[in-house]
């Protein structure tokens, strides 16, 4: 599903964020991206949703090279992936329902579709009782669940998360990671950058370690190891 071939990213100011990165992620995988601050995790994730363009190499998603992608093709790319962040990026003047529905509204879905998909996705993330609440009335964990629902409401095959638990305490963080695990088990590929080493350790998933813009370790997850 995801292939990075010899990818380097040098920002306009000269910062070398990634250097010669090779990475393959198969459909249905759950991958943690770890490494110290400034390692290049966020940069790698931005390449995946085409917020940034690789300076060298190829970034392929479903065999489409994002380096060559035209700006007008970005919307189509993003409709096939969900992205969540540390800061939740919810619209404060919209309710939970409206925030999730927004993602479908702006890609032109009809009212009935929007209602059905939104409610079922809010049910999936466990927020059925909060559809009419505003983001300011929710806990951090609940807000991130809304974001997960919004990212997934269009049923994309890939979920990308950049430190989704960075603002949450340990218990709440676990709640989100469990949710992502559940979604992964339904078939969505998950790529999550994180500093939460305890969680990474206990989850026993594939771990890609980045340092100084290079991948220095790529450790397969437990299930895969058992498979071998």
């Amino acid at each position: 599903m995801i292939k990075l071939k010899n990818v380097s990213k040098i920002y306009p100011n000269g910062a070398r964020a990634l250097m010669g990165v090779n990475l393959r992620i198969a459909k249905g995988e759950f991958v943690f991206l770890v490494g110290p601050s400034g390692a290049g995790k966020s940069t790698l994730i931005k390449l995946l949703y085409r917020e940034e363009i690789a300076t060298r190499g190829q970034v392929l998603i479903n065999n489409i090279n994002l380096v060559r992608l035209k700006n007008s093709q970005i919307p189509a790319l993003r409709r096939n992936m969900g992205v969540i962040f540390q800061d939740f990026k919810l619209l404060p003047n919209k309710t939970v329902f409206e925030n999730v529905a927004f993602a479908l509204q702006v890609i032109g879905k009809n009212k009935k579709e929007i209602r059905e998909s939104t409610l079922s996705m809010l049910d999936l993330v466990g927020l059925s009782s909060k559809v009419k609440a505003f983001p300011s009335e929710l806990s951090g964990g609940e807000q991130q669940r809304v974001c997960v629902a919004r990212a997934l409401v269009n049923r994309p095959g890939l979920l990308i998360a950049d430190e989704p638990t960075g603002n949450l305490d340990v218990d709440t963080a676990w709640g989100i990671v469990d949710l992502l695990d559940k979604i992964n088990k339904y078939g969505t590929t998950v790529v999550m950058a994180t500093h939460a080493l305890q969680i990474v350790e206990q989850m026993n998933k594939r771990v890609v370690r980045v340092e100084g813009g290079r991948i220095i370790e790529d450790k397969a997850g437990e299930e895969v190891r058992i498979g071998i």
Partner: protein, 294 residues
């Protein structure tokens, strides 16, 4: 594009107008002012053109004759003029006729007595040329005929009027251009403010894959509405002002020829509406390109 999207875009466009109410009003007002100027310039120019035409077709030459000429000499002069090229008609008004006409217009019978028995009017020959362009040539030839005291025609009035209109046309263009520029700046400023205030929303829209046109359209709608409302204000203002002015002129200065043609006015209003829409759309397209980079 689906109906849902169209509705969303329309609502968004209108909501952002409301959000920046004062800026929107200022934009609408500048659009209106520039269109009022545009509309009144067109109307004014059309009127001066008609006035100029009327003047042109009325150009006559008045020839005043020496007081000491006898009737035979007067007729001789009249015949010499008749034989000049480019003459349409020659009419003689004798000093007696002139006095009588004047007396009529004053509704008195004792004018000559009041003037001490001296008729102050000279004999006058009125020439109408076949072509207004020939007037000056004819006049200078007639001036040379002995016994002609003075020759009078609309010396330079027409030229002055035309020069004035020309000059005015350029001023009009400059002023309209300046206000149009101001309107474009204001609309663009208000769209920039909206882009900023909706930054987060736009960011999320991009993230979930809203198409670029979907993100842009509300801003373009906003500009279009500003242009349209401004144009409406201008049309109403110009419409009322001109009809009031027409009535005033017709009732008090009836000799000034005015353009009161319905079709002409409709065309001016149409130009104003189109101008407003164009201004609004142009401003928003430019600023959306500038502030919403993809």
């Amino acid at each position: 594009m689906a109906f849902n999207s169209v509705r969303y875009i329309l609502v968004q466009g209108l909501v952002s107008l409301k959000r920046n109410l004062w800026l929107s009003l200022a934009s609408i007002l500048t659009v209106a002012v520039s269109l009022i100027l545009l509309g009144s310039s067109i109307i004014f120019l059309a009127n001066t053109a008609t006035i100029a035409k009327t003047f042109e077709s009325q150009v006559q030459i008045a020839v005043f004759l020496d007081d000491k000429l006898n009737d035979g000499q007067v007729v001789a002069i009249q015949n010499r003029i008749k034989n000049l090229p480019g003459i349409e008609s020659v009419t003689l008004t004798t000093k007696e006729q002139a006095l009588w006409e004047f007396q009529e217009s004053m509704s008195t019978t004792s004018l000559l007595e009041d003037l001490g028995g001296i008729n102050p009017f000279p004999d006058k020959i009125t020439i109408v040329a076949t072509d207004p362009k020939l007037v000056q040539g004819i006049a200078s030839q007639v001036e040379k005929i002995s016994g002609v005291e003075s020759v009078r025609y609309g010396q330079g009035i027409l030229e002055k009027l035309l020069a004035f209109t020309n000059w005015l046309r350029w001023i009009g263009v400059a002023v309209v251009a300046a206000f149009t520029f101001a309107a474009l700046l204001l609309i663009s400023l208000s769209i920039k403010t909206n882009v900023n205030s909706r930054e987060k929303e736009i960011q999320i829209m991009r993230l979930v894959g809203a198409s670029n046109s979907f993100i842009r359209w509300p801003f373009i709608i906003e500009g279009l509405v500003v242009g349209l409302v401004g144009a409406l204000v201008a049309v109403v203002a110009v419409g009322f002002a001109y009809s009031w002015l027409l009535q005033y002129i017709i009732s008090t200065l009836a000799f000034i020829p005015v353009v009161a043609n319905q079709q002409f006015l409709l065309m001016v209003f149409l130009i104003m509406m189109l101008g407003g829409m164009l201004m609004g759309t142009l401003a928003s397209v430019i600023s959306v390109r500038k502030f919403l980079r993809f």
